[in-house]
Amino acid sequence: MIDKTSLGLLENPGILCYHEESVSLLEKAGAKATATREGEHDAWWVSIPEKVVRQALETVPAKITLGARNPENRVILEAEGNRVHFGSGSETNYWLEVKPETFVSREDGHERIIPVMKRNRGNLDYLCRSAHLSEQLENLDFFIRNVNVQDDDITTENKDVNVFFAALNNITKPVISGVADFDQLEKVVNMAEIIAGGREELIKNPVVSFITSVVKSPLQIVAETAEKLIAIARLGLPVVISTSPQGGSTAPIDEMGMVAQVNAEALAGITINQLANPGAPVIYGAVPVRARMDDLHDMYGVPEFCHYNMDCAQMARYYKVPCYSTAGVGDARVPGIQAAVEKMYTYTAVPFAAPGLVHYAFGLLDKTQTFSPEQAVLDNHKIGMAKFLHRESGVNEEAAERTLKTVQEVMHSPYRMYARHARGMLRRGEIFGGFPFEGDSEDQDQTLLNVHEHLKELEARDKQYLPEEICKKIFDTTPGLLPRLNPYK
């Protein structure tokens, strides 16, 4: 029913497309375009018939590999698979610093250590730290840049190369990212080729994949992003078609309305991508959120968010296209009870629909405005719980046989205790470890203080920089890279 409604929308009203080449690709495939003017810009109303979309879907690869500097960290996405991978994102403006300070209570005169928080503007150094931290978090499977760099020496012309390098030099897991400036795409790809060891190697092991927010909801195709989308499709590198409508403002707020529209938007993006290069690796990316009713900001920790995202993941599965979904954003501004409730809720629910990728999952607070490294460490644990919850069931023939044996044995033992049996599982790592940041105070929650200490240990671990000769080659061939990012200088 969603499929039918979405295809109905693509036919009428169709999409409002601001990108001429996309329009001609669609027209050639059988769509009808009518030129119009939107303010200062040329635009086209494009009515896309069902068969154009279906044909495009036929050429989408159902299996995509996201490459990584360390091949063991590659992520294999299967449209109909059940593996859910969690990653970071998106560009936050602020980095939340936690500082423990000692206070004396006016009531009882006792000293207490309380975490004090401060928001700092994002910069390149924070981005490097975040990528290095992401390398350490065992439940983080892929990296999307999560700090918006606002250094004085960063410009439109040098931003992309520097942020890509900052990420790639600090993490050996798959890196997925948007490109801010079309003219920088080639330099970024060149850098990736050097790391992968050539063009062909990069196609086999795409150490970078891209995100294009090609759709401006409702149902509009943006010129600049469409251009990037087509270019990336022709390079044969994986790309996420990301569309993020807000229920209540840029999309209907009800489940059916939202999902029909966001699904139509994702299909439009995928269609353009496949028309540009049939068989190019493409990922169905839907980031539908709900509006907050008091100020029209995004709202993530609510049941509707789960409905929207789970529906989209099921649609992607239905079309046999790998899916990129979302969970774990806190509406809360700081780590704490509200953040834990909102995050745990979506980490638990969204994977029921088994999207291959779940982004926004580490450290995001204040509806994606703020990144907190302490929160990322906490989220790593929550995601561990979600992964454990959603793993393969332990009920099977072999376990049944084992159970008969165990119970028979224990019933005839002195204390009828299953400790020996539990020990086996404990040692095989089959028992979940419990909350690792538990405090021992009886009158204060010490979680954040303990996480802060653990974060310091993680940040002190060795860096996994690129080898020296590769760094040299990158610096020699990439104009605009800031020398201070070179670890060997």
Binding site: M417, A419, R427
Partner: protein, 227 residues
């Protein structure tokens, strides 16, 4: 030779292997001799029982305790190790010299008091006491005070360990103290209590000798009381 055997006993206590059929912490050990077989070997090759007890079984258990404290071992590891020690003790029993009745550090009667069915904590304490070298006679659950005193007399016990998990049954612990007094045993038998609703204060109130908050405290207190 003797050093090597004793070392193997220690290793197998650490692995929690009662006998050759058991798996250890590391897999693939089934089939190798466990504590029971190794203790038998040690006795057959003429090693002193004291040596087996002190440098083998007790030493192993001590190391288990240390590993627990550093977070390497968990409760299931402690319990399986204690079971292995118990198995070794069974093999040793007939070979202990007269006068040494095999009670090691002392003989303990353990019981959950009358009308109380909770025994997970009590079993943990029993097994750990055995592992620490005490001889434990466990009377089980829902045991009347008179029966506990009787057993203490029959077994010539040095210590009675009582467990209660209900605030409606904890007062039955006081009855055990009274029964022991009635039999004129109170100066010969110490009383140690435990279980969530009990406390240091409560122990004093009913005239028990000591209270232990968990199985480790139980070992500590028992050792103190029987010194």
């Amino acid at each position: 030779m003797s050093k090597e055997l004793i070392g193997k006993i220690v290793d197998n206590v650490l692995q929690g292997r009662r006998n050759k059929d058991d798996e250890g912490i590391e897999e693939g050990m089934a089939g190798e001799p466990g504590v029971a077989e190794l203790v038998q070997d040690a006795i057959d090759s003429g090693i002193d029982t004291d040596e087996i007890l002190l440098n083998g079984l007790s030493r192993g258990m001590e190391m288990v305790g240390q590993k627990y404290e550093t977070g390497e071992y968990f409760i299931p590891d402690m319990l399986t190790a204690a079971e292995a020690v118990e198995e070794g003790m069974k093999v040793m029993e007939p070979h202990l010299v007269k006068g040494e009745d095999g009670s090691g550090k002392g003989k303990v009667i353990m019981a959950t008091v009358e009308k109380d069915l909770h025994d997970i904590g009590k079993n943990l304490v029993s097994i750990m006491l055995k592992g620490a070298g005490f001889t434990v006679v466990d009377l089980g659950i829902d045991v009347p005070a008179a029966r506990i005193a009787e057993a203490a007399e029959e077994e010539k016990a040095n210590l009675v360990g009582l467990s209660a998990l209900l605030n409606t049954t904890m007062s039955n612990m006081g009855d055990v103290v009274k029964e022991l007094e009635k039999k004129g045993l109170r100066d010969k038998v110490k009383v140690l209590i435990g279980g969530a609703p009990t406390s240091e204060d409560f122990a004093q109130e009913i005239g028990a000798d000591s209270y232990g908050k968990d199985a480790f405290a139980a070992i500590r207190e028992a050792e103190k009381l029987l010194k």
